[in-house]
């Protein structure tokens, strides 16, 4: 990766190249040991003198045909790496080419050439390529998000209904118990609840898989929210309905089941739809307890590519899911309202 350069950018390969051109004949005359030059250059590099090291590396002469080229390859390779690390891609490439012109099979040089090519392609081209590469991964991860949403959607309304009925129960202790339940689960962050279930319970001897912990956390949290919504809906039904049901001889539960609760369905759709849309987004929180779902996958890819488009893609998938919900809840509301004159 291109990190901040450690030396003035002016001392570029051009200078290095001049040295190189000057030194070749001199070196040919003096015949100094190339390995010694390499060793001193390495010492410079190790002590952090990148500029000096680069100069020194370039002093290693090209081998005559039949001569040992080990020091030459090593020195050019190190120089190419330095240039690459300071984003001097052209110099880096020409150094690699130098090696490859003598040893076309050199793997290290080839690999660096590839990296230079990648580094020189514009960012947005790379990002667009990444989108194609990683999209299937994101889609697969969305499967887990959808699964969590569906399970919570199946469990929490049922649990919520029973909690709501318990809340309006005249039996004080039951009502109080569920008041506390709602108080705790609605009054603390879902993130904290997930941490508590996944990281907090094992010391108490209860170890849950990330999936179980995620389902439990989301289920408990959303049941608490839905219970309050359902309770509100039940209490919003005209008291006359209960009286009419009772006047026919219905018991409290018959009246609830046949008369009161069915009338809440239509009223429940908008607020519950809202909750389920929030749920889709809240599933992202389970990424913190080692669950691989859409957010986690996007985060992982983003951390290796720093590609903003990956996050945008994840956002698109979330938007697609919430949009489907918005539309279908609208339809459901209309269908449940057929008996209303509007």
């Amino acid at each position: 990766m291109e990190v901040g350069t450690k030396r003035p950018g002016v001392l570029k390969g051009a200078l290095g190249l001049c040295f190189f051109l000057l030194l070749v004949p001199a070196a040919a005359l003096a015949q100094p040991d190339p390995y010694e030059i390499l060793a001193s250059a390495t010492r410079e590099a190790n002590s952090g003198n990148i500029g000096a090291a680069l100069k020194a590396y370039l002093k290693v002469p090209a081998p005559e045909p039949g001569e040992d080229g080990g020091a030459f390859v090593r020195s050019r390779m190190e120089a190419a790496k330095i240039c690459f690390s300071t984003a001097e891609y052209k110099n880096s490439a020409s150094l690699c080419e130098e090696i490859l012109s003598l040893y076309p099979e050199n793997l290290e040089a080839r690999n660096l050439m590839k990296q230079v090519t990648v580094a020189q392609t514009p960012k947005w081209v790379r990002f667009l390529k990444d989108m194609g590469t990683y999209f299937p991964t994101l889609l697969r991860a969305s499967g887990m998000t959808i699964l969590l949403v569906l399970i919570t959607m199946a469990v929490s309304p049922v649990a919520g209904l029973f909690i709501a009925l318990a809340r309006i129960s005249r039996i004080r202790s039951i009502s109080w118990f569920f008041w506390c339940y709602i108080w705790v689960f609605r009054g603390t962050p879902l993130l904290l609840q997930l941490f508590f279930i996944y990281y907090g319970l094992p010391p108490l001897g209860i170890t849950l898989s990330p999936f179980t912990a995620a389902v439990l956390g989301l289920g408990l949290n959303y049941s608490a929210y839905l219970a309050e919504i359902i309770r509100g809906a039940i209490e919003s039904i005209d008291a006359g309905q209960m009286e009419a049901a009772k006047s026919l001889g219905m018991t409290y539960w018959q009246a609830m089941r046949r008369i009161i609760v069915p009338q809440t369905y239509k009223r429940l759709v908008p607020p519950v739809g809202n909750e389920f849309i929030a749920l889709i987004k809240d599933t992202a929180l389970v990424s913190t307890i080692a669950m691989v779902e859409l957010m986690r996958a996007a985060d992982q890819i983003f951390n290796t590519t720093f590609n903003i488009f990956i996050l945008m893609q994840a956002a698109m998938i979330y938007l697609a899911m919430t949009s489907i919900f918005t539309v279908s809840f609208r339809k459901l509301e209309d269908r449940l309202g057929v008996y209303e004159n509007r």
Binding site: D238, G240, Q241, E243, A244, A245, K246, S247, L248, G249, M250, T251, Y252, Q254, R258, I259, P262, Q263, V338, Y339, E340, N341
Partner: protein, 252 residues
């Protein structure tokens, strides 16, 4: 058939029904009149156990019904299944209909027999269709309440109560929420029922109706029966009582 003895109902420090005794005989048609807040509706609701009495006694067919004394000697309502059994014998029609909005007219009428009496659906359906025909709404059987007029709603509500085959029908201001031109159709239905010999208690402000079909008219005020007797007597003696006079002058 049903007898209330010295029943009292208080709401906080307001006494809605103040030591009232009422005996309803089989086939009798009682009309209760009186200013609003006089306790008429509360009395009606007490007969159907929708209000708990604070003191007094209730008898059904000569046997004490609906209440017992707890260990401390306080009056408490019987358990739910007992009360539900009693209620299913008594039909009630409300001022604001209280039809079940999520059910069609037919489903409304079938609901009691199917859910409470566990009647087979086919049988309940036959009876319901018969009753809807009787109140002249067979063509509205698949209509939801929201699409019915007030008069139609109240007639469905009457059919719904009748489907339980009650021995007594209670009408709580059945025409007060209706437009004047819709009052007639509901009265016709009630009158028809009266002619068939149904026992009924009607709370109403319609004096003409009281005069026409009541066996007994009760004038109620401040939780007490001020005047009662056959319609002719009550209306002719009404001028003797200042409160009755004032009320009648207002409503007539």
């Amino acid at each position: 058939m049903i007898e209330l003895v010295d029943v009292v109902k208080r709401f906080n420090d307001f006494t809605a029904v103040d030591r009232v005794s009422l005996k309803i005989d089989k086939g009798e048609k009682i009309v209760i009149i009186g200013p609003s807040g006089s306790g008429k509706t509360t009395l009606l609701r007490m007969i159907n156990f929708l209000e708990t009495i604070d003191s007094g006694r209730m008898f059904l067919e000569g046997r004490e019904a609906g209440y017992r004394r707890d260990k401390k000697g306080r009056l408490v309502m019987e358990k739910q299944d007992v009360i539900c059994g009693l209620r299913s014998e008594i039909g009630m029609v409300f001022q604001h209909f209280h039809l079940f909005p999520h059910m069609t007219a037919l489903q409304n009428v079938m609901e009691g027999p199917v859910t409470v009496k566990k009647q087979p659906r086919e049988e309940a359906r036959r009876i319901a269709l018969d009753l809807l025909g009787k109140v002249g709404l067979l063509d509205k059987k698949d209509t939801y309440p929201a699409f019915l007029s007030g008069g139609q709603k109240q007639r469905v509500a009457i059919a719904r109560a009748l489907a339980m085959k009650p021995m007594l029908m209670l009408f709580d201001e059945p025409t007060s929420a209706l437009d004047p031109e819709l009052v007639g159709e509901v009265f016709t239905a009630i009158k028809q029922l009266a002619e068939e010999g149904m026992t009924m208690v009607i709370v109403t402000h319609q004096m003409g109706f009281a005069r026409e079909m009541a066996d007994r008219v009760i004038f109620m005020d401040e939780g007490r029966f001020i005047l009662q007797g056959n319609p002719g007597d009550v209306f002719s003696h009404s001028m003797d009582n200042a409160r009755v006079k004032a009320f009648l002058q207002k409503v007539l």
